[in-house]
Amino acid sequence: MPFTAKSGKFSASINTLTMGTGEKAIVLGGENVLPFYTFDAPIENAPKVGIEITDGGLEAEPECVKKYYEGCETIVDMAKKAATFEGVDFLSIHLEGGDPNGENKPTEELIKIVKEVAEAVDLPIVISGCKNVEKDSEIFAKASEVLSGKNAVMLAAKEENYKNVGASAGLAYKQIVGAESADDINLAKQLNVLLTQLGVDAKSIVMNVGTAAAGYGYEYVVSTMDRIKAAALQQGDATLQMPIITPVASETWGIKESIATEEDMPEWGDQEARGIDMEVETAAADLASGSNAVILKHPVSVATISKMIKALV
């Protein structure tokens, strides 16, 4: 008697969404099964991997990442280099220097970077904001304008600024609107509803439901994503069928497992390996729980996760 499994294919599916344009354009979502459950039904669009650079340039990168960008003098150089790393599907420009509580770089300066990078690489682009809701509204409006026609992702609109971001990124410039809800499943749904009520096309929304580094309250991440996928696929809830994009790097490269030097923690051993494995293990868990795209920092992490995805889909 052979093993017969009941199919776990659902009648509902995750929305498909195209990031970028031309040959390098990528498609997220479309699956009607749980993550990597190819035995239930084929997954047409494998999850995608993005690499993150910041407005801080090479100086802001962890020591162990710098060597991969050897010879890069500008952020544009870095972007070009990043585009050549194995497994990179898209580029995320993290404008963390815009934060008024931090460096408070003027919007114009940041947008100049965005513009130059976009002209230099043909990969799909994600603009990650500085977390300050007022400044982000401004950054996303301008970035949407200079990236007009590029199908870029603005990451992300929050409860406090979804109207501004939705209106500029979604309505005026037809970019992809990220909706950020930090492990709050009810807010995730509400933001999608509010954005669509504003007139943003549901198929142009991607969710950032948040992540934690592995070990740092990761149970909430698993359960949030499990429940979103259950609602989207099993209950057919159209307000949660948006693909999920997860910025992993910004969570994992700030915690002590990644930043403690070998001198600080001799028994922990090689710092670079720790940083990579923290990023890789967090990303693998995110993808297994439901992310359609992850944003990473270390080129080895990108190659590794890309390899894992290819082995699974």
Partner: protein
């Protein structure tokens, strides 16, 4: 798992004879489902139907014990596919593999490396719990027994990865009291292996070339009466391994397929083929999705730190908050003159706050209150993080005797406590910190 009335009704004689005292078979089935009457009240329920029912009410996944004494550990026993539905009960266990083809020096180095990872995190010991000992026919049976003997005393549960019955018997002879896993049954040898495992009283691990062969061998072993089993996910590819682990768990829990209801072994060492970071990714993948034992080529701190944290998170009971031990946590080399901050013992709060404090680089004493493992606002609302509870905790722990600094920062969310604390804790300057942990770095730096 409880049976629905409908499942019982489908097996019932459907005669409506009323001899059981119920007006219809449907009413009777409903009462049986509720536990109000016994199935035996019906004289016409066939033995086959009763057997099918008792099978259906058995737990969906077997609970399997391996190891002995203080090394005994429990695998399986899960009742849900997703932790939010209830909780996962028995965490994934990790093994490192060695092989009888390796020389002593290599084996010693590998054992030393795996034993190096041994630490505590929120009350849980984090270490490599098992050693997988693979049999290499080329180096012979004696060498295998020698290697097994060599690692048997390392305080780890052994997995005897050996599909040769005679060799397995010899290896079992030297370690069976420690209750290793005999991981060696396949479609050809399962009868002999089952006999061996049963006689030694150990769990039998089952291999199959593919899902069908694996399933058939499990079914054949059950027929022999052996239900003390674990199965190996197919390692022909990552995709095949993931498919076995997920499909068997799903079949067991969702579709009541008991033959699939055993813990799994996933050998990621075989899947990653020497790519250590890919192996780290797979360790994580199979922790989230249904690996009961995961075998790796190596687990150093780089792999372990995220992995054990992840496992601790995934296997927490959603009903019970994770708590850290109350007390003083000295951060960034703080001493008795460093500034004090206080918050609750909810593990997530602790990790987020201590992470930010570490990032600030400012030496400080983080004083964790006993607040029932609840978050700041929840414990405040429940009266477990109040001015009197904080004052009492400081007294009980003799904080004033241990720390000279008299500056205490409280979470911004409970700013209302400032006045009361100043009244109850004379001599202390109470400072209201930001509402969110992410603002702590700036707050501490500005204060300096």
């Amino acid at each position: 798992m409880a049976l629905k009335g409908l499942d019982i009704f489908k097996l019932s004689p459907k005669k409506n004879c009323k001899e059981c005292g119920s007006p219809t078979c449907m009413a009777f089935s409903m009462k049986v489902a509720q536990g109000a009457v016994s199935i035996d009240a019906c004289p016409y329920f066939s033995e086959d139907a009763k057997a099918a029912m008792s099978e259906a009410t058995a737990p969906p996944m077997k609970t399997i014990k391996v190891g002995a004494g203080e090394n005994e550990m429990v695998l399986g026993g899960e009742t849900v596919l997703f932790r939010h539905e209830k909780t996962f009960v028995n965490k994934t266990r990790y093994a490192v593999d060695i092989c009888s083809c390796m020389d002593d020096a290599t084996i010693e180095a590998k054992v030393a490396e795996l034993k190096h990872v041994d630490y505590e995190r929120i009350g849980e010991r984090m270490y490599v719990e098992m050693i997988d000992v693979e049999y290499d026919p080329a180096s012979g049976a004696d060498r295998y027994v020698e290697v097994v003997k060599k690692v048997a005393g390392e305080g780890r549960v052994l997995i005897l990865d050996c599909q040769d019955v005679e060799v397995a018997k010899a290896a079992l002879d030297v370690c069976k009291d420690a209750k290793p896993v005999l991981n060696g049954a396949n479609a050809q040898n399962y009868e002999a292996m089952s006999k061996l495992a049963t006689e030694a009283g150990v769990v039998l691990g089952v291999y199959g070339a593919d899902e069908n062969e694996l399933f058939d061998t499990l079914a054949a072993l059950e027929k022999l009466g052996n239900k003390n089993l674990v199965f190996n996910a197919c390692t022909s590819s990552v995709k095949a391994a993931f498919a076995t682990a997920v499909q068997f768990r799903k079949a067991a829990i969702k579709d009541s397929n008991r033959t699939c209801g055993y813990p799994s072994i996933v050998n990621v060492s075989k899947l990653a083929k020497g790519d250590s970071h890919l192996q780290a990714a797979l360790l994580s993948l199979f922790t989230v999705k249904y690996g009961s034992i995961v075998i790796a080529e190596k687990i150093s701190y780089a792999e372990a730190l995220p992995l054990y944290g992840l496992r601790q998170n995934v296997f927490t009971d959603p009903q019970k908050p994770m708590k850290v031990e109350p007390g003083i946590y000295r951060i960034n080399g703080a001493d008795e003159n460093s500034i004090c901050l206080t918050t609750v013992d909810f593990a997530l709060t602790y990790f987020v706050v201590s992470g930010e404090l570490e990032r600030s680089g400012v030496p400080c004493n983080l004083i964790i209150n006993d607040a029932g493992g609840l978050s700041v606002l929840t414990s405040w609302a429940a009266g477990k993080f109040s001015s009197s509870s904080i004052a009492k905790f400081f007294q009980e722990q003799d904080i004033e005797g241990k720390i000279k600094c008299r500056k205490l920062c409280i979470p911004g969310k409970v700013a209302v406590l400032k006045g009361e604390l100043e009244a109850k804790m004379p001599g202390w300057e109470i400072i209201v910190a930001p509402r969110e942990a992410v603002q702590l770095v700036k707050f501490l730096k500005d204060m300096q």
